[in-house]
Symmetry: C2
Subunit: 151 residues, 2 copies
DNA sequence: TATAAATAAGACAAAATACTCTTAAATATT
DNA sequence: AATATTTAAGAGTATTTTGTCTTATTTATA
């Protein structure tokens, strides 16, 4: 599994928020229903994204979470790093600590390129970009496809 | 962590064997010492690689494991798939089951490209290729760099 | 044929990840 | 002010991954 489950859930949640472009708070309960993710687990993940300043939360009635900035200004890499950590893009393929240009493993150069191409892809893809694509093509965001983009 | 720890250990072990080009059995005890990987854990991993027909094992004195074919004919992808499974290269980035061209998630196309580039890199890199590079440039295969390629 | 050297296999333990539940704190609304 | 709604936080459970230990089983060699 390239990305952790938490990370995948975080991405789905972020996309959900980006799709409902209005800057209103969305309750975690609603999101967990729509995205079919356990409420409490999703809450923890969103807390991580809030701590990373990607989202803002608000307690009380009509509270919830929302993106801290426009979805067009949040790229997937931010979500991934907030949850799985930046090490994901510096780690050695052979697990050697401190692997780098000065003290490389045999796979270092090649792996670094691969890692970078993943990172670049995530950097160049914004939440809005994907959300628009999802809306326009009516793609799914849940296993059963029960999700509707204009909710 | 993009690859599991088991997978990373499997790659190191396979490289070790490819470096000692002679087709003799190498004991797991020796490998575990040289590579600084727990003996029993390494044994399990090598059993997976043996079950996948990438290695052959032999019991008794002078027994051990060896590559089932020349290292130049084994690419990294074979080791990775034997341990982490082929799903690694078909899985959806958003965790949706059955995500594919017919029923894609918003990230499908982009992710498929990224996944493929990882896969191609692993396909195009052989054990011998890396082992030779390691030998020639005296790169490390262990955390402390204590490994010597001609052992 | 006895012995020692090696892998095989399975039970077990520890750690990390994934997930649940309960209680607290904040806040909008009546 | 009371209440209902919501996130925050932390304890607790389950599952998976990682790692250990013990007991076979095979086999080369003396």
């Amino acid at each position: 599994m390239l990305l952790s489950k938490s990370c995948v859930y975080g991405l789905r949640a972020a996309l959900y928020l980006a799709a409902g472009n209005n800057g209103e708070y969305v309750s975690i309960g609603k999101m967990s229903e729509r995205l079919d993710i356990s409420f409490h687990f999703l809450t923890k993940i969103l807390q991580q994204l809030t701590a990373a300043d990607l989202m803002e939360s608000h307690k009380g009635p009509n509270g919830g979470v929302k993106l801290a900035k426009p979805g067009s200004e949040i790229s997937l890499i931010e979500v991934v790093i907030a949850i799985d950590g930046a090490e994901l893009f510096t780690e050695c393929a052979l697990g050697l600590p401190g692997c780098g240009v000065e003290k490389p493993c045999p796979l270092h150069d090649t792996w670094a390129e691969t890692r970078d191409s993943i990172r670049e892809m995530l950097e160049n893809t914004t939440l809005t970009h994907l959300a628009e694509k999802g809306k326009n093509m009516n793609l799914r965001l849940t296993a059963d496809g029960g999700f509707v983009w204009d909710g």
